[in-house]
Amino acid sequence: MIKLLKIEWYKLRPYTIFWVFTGLYSILLFGAYYVVKKATSSEEFSLGFPMKWQGLTYIAGWLNPFLVLLTILYTTNEYTFNTIRQNVIDGLSRTEVFISKVMVHLLFSLYSTILVVLLGTLFSALFSKSFNAENYFNDFYFVGIHFLKCFTFFSIAYMLSLLFKKGIISIIALVILYIGDSLVSWIITNPIFDMLPFASMSNLINNPLFEQIAKQLTPETPPPLWVFILVVIAYMILFNAASWFLLNKRDLKG
């Protein structure tokens, strides 16, 4: 495991796009929190400070595509340069190849989660009048949900990268899936369609503002959060299993 992580680190460290994307992601997340803080002065506002974790992770969710784009390029480059093939020729098993990228995705998810916690804590400590342990941990479970959401997003992108092997095609496929999935779940109100991959992921962390409004507008109660958590976990397992399958059952060639 440590060996696989070391290998990935040696590949990533000199990779300019890696530093640009993670740097940009970090700056944009900071910027987003700052803008929202400026825009919302009222403390009653649930998106305002103390920004509850639901709000913080909801905003962070919009920036996930940055890191996802990076992992798609990172994985498909292994096909473009045939290095995935060389790694196996040199001695890695296909399962090791699979695990090494999964670990990268876990680390990226962890990075995003830690960044959200750090920035959230920083902003709350600086700007909130009601910064205390009770408020702090009130809906802290959204941090865990954010981690799950990130990793599942990476898992979908991973499967597409392995399926199409080309960066640009994988990205287009991801966008089409995302738009298609969102459109279907918006247009058709049947709750079954809320269980589509992206719909269920976005249902994990709702916009705290709209959630209040939606509650007043529609009398029906949406499925409870734990249902979406289970559905997303199922997708996460499914997409990773598909990735493993794609890596093991096909010729390794770009």
């Binding site: 045939n82 290095t83 001695g91």
Partner: protein, 293 residues
């Protein structure tokens, strides 16, 4: 046995890339796989290195069941040199050193072996084709493996580079390493290999020691005033295997080595006086084309 292959098969749709081939490679041999482009050499090696899925058959390295650990004992080049373009030569080899659990100290050693030490901090994407190929060879040598699998190892190299690779292979072979080389260059195979397998369109046509496979029949060029009469006489000789007619001479393939003097004597007895009589050096290319015809 270093490698044994049984009834290996691979199809791409309707195209048969590898058709039911079997062979064995013994320890310490330099085993050449010879065949024209598209004969299935690279596909075969790809299957043996677990990057291409086979449709049938089996193989085993080191007399053990297929398992990824075997590739740690094998240094390989398959098709083109595959490296990370944004990494320098040294970092690219570090990736392989980590995969193979080899000390980073080996890197300078193998880079200097292929004359790339001065470029170790240059990014791979700045390399010329020949340098890329040399880096691929350094990569294969990194773990000082028992077995080397080299697919077209002299691809993109200049004449000097080709000689260097040939020397390298001979040196490794003399140290008892087993080397498997795929090539479409008969010259390359003949100069370094002890054994050869000849492939065409996915089929293994022949395999065995080079001295048995790539041996052409001794041949003689012969001409006289009357070629028809000459041919009549030669046809009746037991040592003549085949007669090819050329514009103004005959080329006869012999079943055994026959002295020119002996032929000359036979012809004189029939009152034929050859105007041209010449022993032809063995031509491996022709022998090769004969096999793959």
């Amino acid at each position: 046995m270093i490698l044994s292959v049984k009834n290996l098969a691979k199809k791409y749709g309707n195209i048969v890339a590898v058709n039911d081939i079997s062979f064995e490679v013994e320890k310490g041999t330099v085993f050449g796989i010879l065949g024209p482009n598209g004969s299935g050499k690279t596909t075969t090696l790809g299957i043996l290195l677990d990057v291409v899925e086979r449709n049938g058959g089996s193989f085993s390295w080191f007399d053990q069941a297929a398992d990824e650990n075997h590739r740690n004992r094998i240094g390989s080049i398959l098709e083109t040199p595959n490296f990370y373009p944004h990494l320098d030569a040294e970092s690219n080899l570090k990736v392989n050193a980590l995969i193979k659990n080899v000390s980073f100290d080996r890197i300078d050693e193998v880079l200097s072996r292929v004359n790339l030490l001065e470029r170790k901090n240059s990014k791979f994407r700045t390399f010329s084709l020949g340098m890329k190929q040399r880096l691929a060879i350094a990569n294969a040598l990194l773990s000082d493996p028992e077995v080397l699998v080299l697919d077209e190892p002299t691809n993109g190299l200049d004449p000097q580079g080709i000689v260097e690779i040939r020397d390298l292979i001979n040196e490794l072979s003399s140290k008892g390493k087993t080397i498997i080389i795929a090539s479409h260059l008969i010259d390359e195979i003949e100069k370094v290999c002890t054994h050869v397998a000849i492939m065409k369109k996915g089929n293994l046509l022949q395999y065995g020691p080079v001295s048995e496979i790539l041996v052409a029949d001794p041949r003689i060029e012969i001409a006289s005033e009357n070629l028809v009469e000459l041919e009549e006489v030669l046809k009746k000789q037991l040592f003549v295997k085949k007669i090819e007619k050329r514009k103004n001479m005959l080329i006869i393939s012999l079943n055994r080595d026959v002295e020119i003097a002996e032929i000359s004597k036979i012809l004189q007895e029939k009152n034929i006086y050859p105007t041209h009589l010449n022993q032809v050096k063995k031509r491996l290319e022709e022998q090769f084309f004969e096999i793959i015809k």
